[in-house]
Symmetry: C2
Subunit: 354 residues, 2 copies
Amino acid sequence: MSSGGPPTIVSIAERAGVSIASVSRVLNGLGARPETEDRVRRAASELGYVPNAVARSLKDGHTRQLTFAVPDIGNPVYVAMVREIQAVAKAAGYRLLLHSTDADVADELGVVRSLADRTSDGLVLVPIRITPAHVEALTAAPGPVVVIGSLPDGVPVDGVQADSVTGAELAVRHLVESGRRRIALVNGPVDTVPGGNRGRGYRAALAACGIPYDPELVTATDFGVGAGARATARLLAARPDLDAVFCANDQLAIGAVQALHAAGRRIPRDTAVAGMDDSDLAVAAWPPLTSVDLGAGERGRRAARMLLERLAPGSGEPLPARRTTAAPRLVVRGSTSPGAAPAGSDEQEGAKSA
Amino acid sequence: MSSGGPPTIVSIAERAGVSIASVSRVLNGLGARPETEDRVRRAASELGYVPNAVARSLKDGHTRQLTFAVPDIGNPVYVAMVREIQAVAKAAGYRLLLHSTDADVADELGVVRSLADRTSDGLVLVPIRITPAHVEALTAAPGPVVVIGSLPDGVPVDGVQADSVTGAELAVRHLVESGRRRIALVNGPVDTVPGGNRGRGYRAALAACGIPYDPELVTATDFGVGAGARATARLLAARPDLDAVFCANDQLAIGAVQALHAAGRRIPRDTAVAGMDDSDLAVAAWPPLTSVDLGAGERGRRAARMLLERLAPGSGEPLPARRTTAAPRLVVRGSTSPGAAPAGSDEQEGAKSA
DNA sequence: TTGAAAGCGCTAACAT
DNA sequence: ATGTTAGCGCTTTCAA
């Protein structure tokens, strides 16, 4: 008899006067006599039947859910990734489980291990930093994982990374080509993946342009608007002659712009500013920020696709771990180039490729 | 025998030489003889056992997953909600399923219905607009739903809303008190929930301040930076005498600021600008934007809590539908007030409560 | 204290 | 073409 709960194949079978197997078949598009077909469909729709996804998952071993774990969902870069990953997942019929690790290493490792609870079919992980423990956990991952970040060779999971070294070079070169010579660096924590790489790119570009590295022009703080403003103010006090500020992300750059404005400097005439990530913040600033697009959306999209490929039937795990890198793209706007970025034009034509 | 797959209670039982029931008991902290306890725990850890969450869900009827459905994950307002909801969910031991409806009404309705597949225990929905079909679907919702938005009375689901009418009033009043008289409105689509309410707030505030409503000072376009810039340019051309621009969100306000800058107007001296939502964009602008915080994070938090309360055992569905409203808060910054917002101070002290 | 067995809702052999 | 049944991994009566 139909008890209290939501309808199941049993309720339908009773109502249609057939077996549960017939119900299952009809509902899954396998053959049946027209009359049976009819009775089942009618009963199902009368009862408002919706298949129980949990039961189905238990049966066939997958959930059609993907997990995406990020350090901080508020960060525009990760937001761009979430957006793309969710789009790819949705298009492929997968749901997206969003997990915030709050930049906690232990939590990151936990997410990898929790793949074992079969809650999702695979994981896209953005680690804040990659430790030996990460390598270990990743190597023993109980399911498919794609890491967004720089993975050491030998770790048997797919990875997609940004090329922030080249990205930083792009920005610094652009600054140099615009005639800047005393280019400060406002970096984030250097013991994180992004911070480390961006610092290296800065030095490489200076070297390539024949400009000596000057430690006094370099600061490392937290990533954040306030940190950027304070660091820039300090830099300005120590080295009033600086003519450009390169920031490791747009938030820092926004802070730099504010500090510069507050100090009465004109941008870009007196001091140019460039950021990284090309987030929405870049066009919100005045003047609009020149920024390096590190392809966050693109990385998200690729990661999701790689994960889905691992999940596709047939193409099992035997494939070797793959690595891919998204190419950076410099987007020139008013903060470095006087004529750029007319108001009302969202997309900047001045963009040039790596 | 222990076959290929991941360890299950059966593998543990075999290895420990006990029944699966004992395994289950030990692992769930129910009593057992010390020796049994020991053998089971040892076997479990040797095997690296992790309980299968799907099986558990099937058994006890809930997934410990919540769904959050938003029109667009890129929007800073929704990002703020996601962040809070995920935090509340995580703290309560729930996972968060993030769904983007892409502002599609049909998709919104689909999400409500899909509660029936038992993939998640409850839903927080942000509808872009509330149609009769929404009311119908919500009334027949196959599980607990909390709506963030303005729900008609009588719809039997919990709701939390912003008070954008009061919010708009706060901003307009502030503008008037700063001596502005010709205050333009740059609104988003008026057939959406936010657009409609913000327009009403604007008119109400003008009326309260004894300033006549002037249709020529009002535009409605899309929500977006480019749209804001274009609308403001148009307004400026038609009414060069305007002395303030109130925008229905921060993105529009950013656009307005750009258009104003491009037209050579000084902010706030010649023209003041105020936005809404108090997103990260507000502090990225120059001058930093005065904005009305509509409590997006707060709404997310409350919605998540209400949902969790519905889910708590005991306090079943019988509770009547609840409605709650988050109080708006005006945050004054440089775009309306000359002295405000020194660089480097992330939090603005000038904030005053409703 | 412990084991046997039922059952959550579904799919897929297998038998008819 | 359709029904019976086993089984996915777990929890929980019910007996012993």
